[in-house]
């Protein structure tokens, strides 16, 4: 995380990838204990990852990172439960079967992020798509969309912040 905050994108990416299974397990457990379908778990995971990313400066580098991560994950979990609480979620699948699925990512696409992505302004949406889904680097995305590297960086950052805000605004 320290390396990530210092701008080392590779170690930062590895850290987030390592965190994901843990977050997924936590999300599943949280949703299950609230009696909700765990098809929402991947949404919670993505929302938590977004929050970790956008709020990474709020971690004090001298403090242990565990409590910080736990607090963010808990905050996002509570947020989700509060929001989903207003909807009626009936688990259709046999519960045991879902649990047997382990912690691997479901192959289906996650509905919420995509729905929110569709609501972004076209410029931000194209940049986020190009980098996230097509795996382009900043400069490749810039070339493809005929933008400058700086403009791509700004659009990417704004797009991610807007995604997080969309998650937040839902249900208020």
């Amino acid at each position: 995380m320290r390396a990530g905050n210092a701008g080392d994108a590779d170690s930062y990416r590895r850290l987030l990838l390592q965190l994901t299974p843990v977050l997924r397990a936590v999300a599943r457990r949280g949703l299950a204990s609230a009696g909700m379908a765990d098809t929402d778990a991947e949404d919670v995971v993505q929302e938590t990852l977004l929050a970790i990313h956008l709020k990474r400066q709020s971690w004090d580098e001298d403090a242990p990172i565990g409590p910080w991560l736990r607090a963010i994950a808990r905050h996002k979990m509570i947020d989700t439960l509060r929001r989903r609480g207003r909807r009626i979620d009936l688990p259709i699948d046999d519960f045991a079967e879902v649990l047997a699925g382990g912690e691997s990512e479901p192959s289906m696409l996650v509905a919420d992020v995509d729905r929110h992505l569709d609501c972004l302004p076209a410029g931000q949406r194209n940049v986020v798509r190009a980098i996230a889904v097509d795996g382009a680097s900043i400069s490749e995305a810039a070339a493809r969309l005929s933008m400058t590297n700086g403009a791509v960086r700004v659009a990417l950052h704004r797009g991610l912040a807007a995604l997080a805000a969309k998650f937040n605004g839902e249900g208020t």
Binding site: A9, L54, I72, H75
Partner: protein, 212 residues
């Protein structure tokens, strides 16, 4: 979008370096406090003979207490921006302020004859105090809330209230250099009420502005 895709986008965005909350608070406070001090001198002004009166224990106590409250609540605001951080110690330290105020009130009640209590409590410009402290606190409150938005406070309303306490304390510390009522009785009644008003505004604003 798959989670691995999202992570790729997040990693690509890691070159931007957001500011840590403590530094964001310090930076936001510079204009916030400058505006408050400017308004103070433009509208209220220092009390006449403030420096020669500094030996007066009641005035000195009032000034020290408001500055202590501002310092401690400022530390609380800086800490509350980080999730998972420990705020218990600083909150316990904050309890010193009402304890000192209570002790000063007791001393005042012992030192002053009962017939004068009422006059000391109401002072000469209580309503003006109630208006001035929130007036001076407004710019620091905006600054503290903006800085907290950079952080990730776990409880938006509580964080907003802490920002209100901090801003109210700054407003009170400035107002204390103008206000001619020095009795701890007056401070306990009116300063507390005025700061409480700013805390309530901060909590209401925090509930809306500090969600993440």
């Amino acid at each position: 979008m798959k989670t691995a895709d999202l992570i790729r986008a997040l990693a690509a965005d890691s070159e931007v370096h957001p500011m840590p909350p403590g530094r964001a608070l310090a930076l936001a406070l510079i204009p916030g406090v400058a505006i408050a001090v400017g308004l103070h001198f433009a509208v209220l002004g220092l009390r006449p003979h403030l420096l020669t009166l500094l030996g007066e224990p009641r005035l000195l106590f009032k000034l020290c207490l408001t500055f202590l409250l501002a310092a401690l609540s400022g530390a609380l605001v800086a800490r509350i921006a980080s999730p998972g951080g420990c705020i218990r110690h600083i909150t316990l330290l904050l309890a010193i302020v009402p304890a000192l105020l209570a002790a000063a009130n007791l001393a005042e009640l012992l030192a002053v004859p009962a017939a004068e209590w009422g006059q000391r409590l109401v002072g000469s410009n209580a309503i003006f105090c109630l208006k001035s402290i929130p007036f001076l606190a407004a710019a620091p409150l905006v600054a503290a809330l903006l800085a907290l938005r950079q952080g990730a406070p776990e409880h938006p309303a509580i964080a907003g209230a802490a920002a209100g306490l901090f801003a109210g304390a700054i407003g009170a510390a400035l107002y204390a250099t103008h206000c001619p009522d020095d009795s701890p009785l007056f401070v306990a009644a009116w300063y507390t009420l005025a700061i409480g008003f700013v805390v309530a505004i901060g909590a209401a604003a925090g509930r809306r502005l500090l969600r993440w």
